[in-house]
């Protein structure tokens, strides 16, 4: 098996809707694990997902998923499941009939389709409502039945467009746990979300999109480290913050030191976090200061999003 058979590969992909840009010059290689697509509305997240699943065709470039081109649905959807944002269903079906019908279209026999439907319903915790009409489902239940439909045929790649929308906090937590479990089983999960702290919590890597372009990608801490124009902010809780401020400000990589409002901590901004931590170790070892805690303030997705895209993104 070649490397490309384990990756999702975008090779210089562009998509235009007439004159309007969808995404432009996307080059990506996505490995197993949870990858989140993050960006404001209209950034190109859904376009990227629709391109990945052949619902849209690239204007330029090519995409392959585990070595399969996206214009071969008969092969692609043996390995891919896609939970779209389209909140619509074939009319008149119960949740179970909905799952069964499309498993039969996949080519499974009735017995296997029933087994897989039941398994998927259990995974999304929707067994009790399975024999009710989908038309009578709440928004959260419709979201879960769509999720069940995307995982029912046990795909190796799961693409989920805003899968946590409409879910209550308890189900959100269960769903995130399910995603983690699937990722631990070796699946690729590509998730788009507006909820940055949830993305931060569950993702192995992120792809930040804005106006159809990829502005950053990779492990969130790695992305943050590379943003040299934005010095890292660190909050140190200690007994003598003023003394520590004087000490650290002498260092050339520290660009700002500011006392916390409660005067029991110190905010610093540094261009080299590693050197700062080393220096702080020395200070502690020499008994200059007693440190209670050290916490990076902007080493998370929200901060990266704000620096790169310019707004604070979504929140729960």
């Amino acid at each position: 098996m070649s490397t490309s058979d384990q990756l999702i590969i975008f090779d210089n992909v562009s998509k235009f809707y007439g004159e309007i840009l969808g995404v432009n010059r996307v080059n990506l290689q996505i490995a197993p694990g949870i990858t989140s697509l993050v960006g404001p509305n209209g950034a190109g997240k859904s376009t990227l997902m629709n391109l990945m699943t052949g619902l849209l065709r690239p204007t330029r470039g090519s995409i392959s998923i585990l070595g399969i081109p996206t214009d071969q649905p008969e092969r692609l959807f043996r390995k891919v499941g896609y939970c779209t944002q389209f909140d619509s269903f074939p009319r008149g079906m119960t949740g179970r009939e909905f799952l069964n019908s499309f498993l039969l279209v996949h080519g499974y026999n009735h017995k296997r389709a029933n087994e897989l439907s039941q398994l998927a319903l259990e995974r999304v915790n929707l067994v009790e409502a399975a024999d009710r009409k989908v038309a009578g489902y709440s928004k959260g239940m419709r979201q879960r039945i769509r999720l069940a439909q995307s995982i029912a045929h046990e795909p190796a790649v799961l693409i989920l467009d805003e899968p946590l929308n409409g879910l209550d906090p308890m189900v959100r937590a269960e769903t995130i746990a399910l995603f983690r479990k699937l990722a631990a089983e070796g699946l690729h999960l590509i998730i788009s979300s507006h909820i940055l702290h949830e993305v931060d919590m569950m993702s192995d890597r992120v792809v930040l999109l804005n106006n159809g372009y990829i502005v950053a990608e990779g492990n969130i801490h790695g992305v943050r480290d590379e943003m040299e124009e934005h010095p890292m902010q660190i909050l140190i809780r200690c007994d003598q913050p003023a003394q520590l401020a004087a000490y650290v400000f002498a260092q050339d990589h520290v660009v700002e030191a500011r006392l916390h409002d409660d005067r029991r901590g110190l905010f610093i901004k540094t261009r080299d976090a590693d050197r700062f931590y080393l220096m702080l170790n020395h200070a502690v070892a020499e008994g200059e200061v007693n440190v209670e805690s050290i916490a990076p303030v902007d080493d998370d997705l929200s901060a990266v999003y704000q620096y790169l895209i310019g707004t604070s993104g979504g929140s729960a």
Partner: protein
Amino acid sequence: MSSAIDAVQTKSDNAPGNWSLWLRQIGAIFRMEIEKNFLSRRSLLIYLIAFLPLFPLTILALITPPGREWKDFNQYSVIYSFIYNAFIMRTLVFFGSAWIFMNLFRGELVDRSLHYYFLSAVRREVLVVGKYVSGLATSILLFTATTVIAMLLLYFPHFYSQSVRYFTEGRGLTQLLTYAGITILACLGYGAFFLFIGLFVRNPIIPAVLLYGWEWLNFLLPPLLKKISVIHYLNSLVPVPMSEGPFAVVAEPTPAYIAIPSMLVVTILVLILAAYRIRHMEIRYGSD
């Protein structure tokens, strides 16, 4: 997690020409579509269209209209030919097929549910076949039933014993089967055309009305143009030909051994084009 996938994969990926998988998938699509065609709210209109000609015929069964032709059994084959030509073939089968076949894809675009098919591990060509066959089964069942019931309803109430003899010993049964066969051919031809049109235009009513006009004006067209229509081939097969009036451009009817294969070949070509279109189709509900 991959055992089930592997089970299907060995049947499909490794054998691209796996007919048993395709047949199973066509069967699954067929069942879903048949349910929609017969049991959804949209199907009410199709029942109405299908059985519309039976209402006046039921009234005629109760009241014999004045006029000598209604009292002459031999005239009934001409009367039925007129009813079949004007009401059943040109109107009921035409608009019924338009409604059934255009909705196969267009209806799902309107409902925003076509993507579920597109996200299944099924060749899109197989999807076209599954949907077309379901439309065909629906239209054939409804419109052939109307063709048969209409004929029996015309003959039996007024001339019962003569009708029994006509259908058991005379030409009645042959004519009945021929009309049913023409209805089936009409469903095949119009069905493929309307399925194809439903993939391209947002409002399929306009091309349907244009085709309707073209088919009705067929009698005025020169012989070569007559052949670019479905009605010409169907008319060629009618057991009791209708007079098309004094302004009609007379053309030789196409023999059945040419008319039937021609219809089938054109139907297959249109379906191939529809499959090609579906293969390259994008899902953008906003723009549909």
